[in-house]
Symmetry: C2
Subunit: 499 residues, 2 copies
Amino acid sequence: MTAADAYSHLESRFRRIAVLEECATVLHWDAAVMMPASAAEPRGDQLAELRVVLHELLTDPALGELLSAAEEAPPEDPWAAANLREMRRDHLHAAAAPVDLVAAHSRACSACEARWRTAKGEDDFAAVRPHLEEVVRLSREIGAVKGEALGLDPYDALMDQYEPDARADDVVPVLEAYAAFLPDFLAAVLEKQGRAPAPAAPQGPFPADGQRALVRDLLARVGFPFERGRLDESAHPFSTGYPGDNRITIMVKEDDPSMAVMASLHECGHALYEAQLPSAWARQPVGRARGMAMHESQSLIVEMQACRSPEFIAWLAPRMSAALGPDPAFEPANLKRLYNQVTPSLIRVEADEVTYPAHVILRTRLERALMAGDLAVDDLPGAWRDELSALLGVRPDTDREGVLQDIHWFDGAFGYFPTYTLGAMTAAQLMAAAQEARPEIPARLAEGDFTPLLDWLAGAVHSQASRYPTQEVIRRATGRPLDPTAFQAHLKRRYLETE
Amino acid sequence: MTAADAYSHLESRFRRIAVLEECATVLHWDAAVMMPASAAEPRGDQLAELRVVLHELLTDPALGELLSAAEEAPPEDPWAAANLREMRRDHLHAAAAPVDLVAAHSRACSACEARWRTAKGEDDFAAVRPHLEEVVRLSREIGAVKGEALGLDPYDALMDQYEPDARADDVVPVLEAYAAFLPDFLAAVLEKQGRAPAPAAPQGPFPADGQRALVRDLLARVGFPFERGRLDESAHPFSTGYPGDNRITIMVKEDDPSMAVMASLHECGHALYEAQLPSAWARQPVGRARGMAMHESQSLIVEMQACRSPEFIAWLAPRMSAALGPDPAFEPANLKRLYNQVTPSLIRVEADEVTYPAHVILRTRLERALMAGDLAVDDLPGAWRDELSALLGVRPDTDREGVLQDIHWFDGAFGYFPTYTLGAMTAAQLMAAAQEARPEIPARLAEGDFTPLLDWLAGAVHSQASRYPTQEVIRRATGRPLDPTAFQAHLKRRYLETE
């Protein structure tokens, strides 16, 4: 078989894998949005069985042979060559862990996550501790075998699952530099903020239907493809889909429309990335979005960079009044302060963009120690309190507001948290480059027009899919690889230099 | 390997198959209820890929060897023995048709069904004719190879896919006996009906939310498991699900609440059958519902036998007034006439229970001729008009109201139509036996109480799953195999003897 034939067979096999992944996507969406709780167990079985089928397809020795044959003479077309590189990556990751270990890890995560849901409600870390210990043990094993296969440190092998090529040697200094930057900067922000009146909060209730209509209007303006997608509601907002079908969810709280408005814009950023991936490479590894950090950058460039900018908030404020009824909180000056309020707090998902990285730094420090065996699960709640207190000067009284707040570890996701802050930093750097290339962006946002920003993103990021490694995408888009000073410059401008 | 070991391996393999079938169920539901139209093509790919995986699992030669090994000494437990019988059945059907033929048929059906949707709207049979010819050609091939493998006539092999053990030698005489019974009976019904005033139709609009609330109340009363299921809306009402998750859909028309009310009760009958299958045999072939005729009998015993009975309608009438507002149509005497009105008409899905079998007889005659090669697709529209005219004295002016009205053939379902009327006849026979065993059923229906009827059905039908062949289920429940005179007796009682 020629290398070209082998590559062509690989495209067929990976297409099949992608199509079956899409089946899992639909089942996940349904589980979060539609499914009765009684079906949690059968749905778990369904997803696990699909995982087994996918694992078998990806680890088929014949696929490994095809890869070796194709690599003898890689395709000349640069997209096809990149596709072959991504195929090898997928195969390496899947084949690195024995199927029994993958299955044991998957079962432990399901059991742990289910126990976590009740333990969080009851603020009972001890109840979920043995489950988490098992998940940590199996995650360390996976890190070890994947690290062995990929020639990486175990934690790097875990991170590489979410953000290809991310390495602690690069990521940790970036995060720790922020930890060093934060204390003085935060003090300055709080000092400046304290000189203005505290922003008024909206006085609800704001009927859910009015919020939904407002969200639909805003999403249509940003460009959410309603004719090729859905907007629904779920306990946690998320974005998912496959070509031809982009779905996002929001949570509507009658007492506070900010949740629905800002979360929908955030998820819309994710959805637009997916919707604008190159259709010619759909269902091939190279056609996928480029890692979780880049994905988060696309949600944050829409939400944090564009929609919380003074220009857009000035446009948004009267529309909130019109849709939800007048409220002093919707006065432009107040809304700007409200949507850029900085408050050290206990809960990551409620954090502002200045303190959010501190929550990520805390988690990254602790999960690296867990994976290295330097921290016992038993000591986790106390370590959490101490770290948060040191980073932000606040200390949770309960584990519900501490170590139990996030699902990620209880669902086996170690190495994921850093992508949130890498995404925020990437978003700031991309926005600076976008505005340099298209100086009209702020003025157009002031008219509620996202076209120049999204055109630029489509060209620089969305249409690139996984053709290049993350750092190369950033370099091509901005002239240099990830440079955390762009994020600091953005924060200084928004929180210290803007009135 | 011992026979017992082989059987145990088979249970694992068939469990896996059932779980992946559940994935397809969720994808089908989503396609009908939630999915944007833009995703029709990728969803078709997703379902086709799942079909390929399932076909590979079912036709795996190792599975054939396990079956042979297990059959050397079948399990003593009668459920397990029946399970082995059903496993063999599934394997025979799957292995009979070569995978290329199955794939070609599946592709032809997808293309034909898509073309049919527009052709129906445009009343353009010629546009879909070449597609239907291809579907007929491939369906005949499937009938031939399955007939060969199963030792059956090709049409019987096709029917056997939907209703195990159904044979034209048994089914056709039953249907043709009804064709002989119908003319005089229909004349008598129409004559009697003509002596009373025509029933008043409800004068809408009836707001959709009021209809939805009424439907929810009715379904709760019949016993629909809302806590383990969903009620949604779709272009055509249907019922689907898997253990722990029963979903039905309705269509709400503001001008006529009958559609939502009666279709929901019909689908609820299907759902209760699924919900009360024995959990001990879930995800095994023997644990499934016993064929499409029995399934239809469960929807019709709820809708036609129970809910259109004079006793239940007397209970229902004031509740419709209360939920939807007073309307002369909701007067009990009028509602009884309205819900038992007999009108020879063009459209099967709108037909009353007296003329419905004529629509089925028409389709059975024509599809047998198509499968035998005695009728060309080109001659189908004319043959349709002539047959309907002979059976019911009405003649469609358009193909939209004729051969284009149903999706079934265009989606490759030949051998399915007879199950509708077999189901109606089974329902009548089961209801007679139920009332003999539980004489309080009519009086309880007059109180809106389905308990005795559903208790009896749970014992006689639902809990039996696929342990026995259909005719044996009917014999055990009613003392004799299917006897079409029970249906005729029911019709005479309801339409000639009831005031």
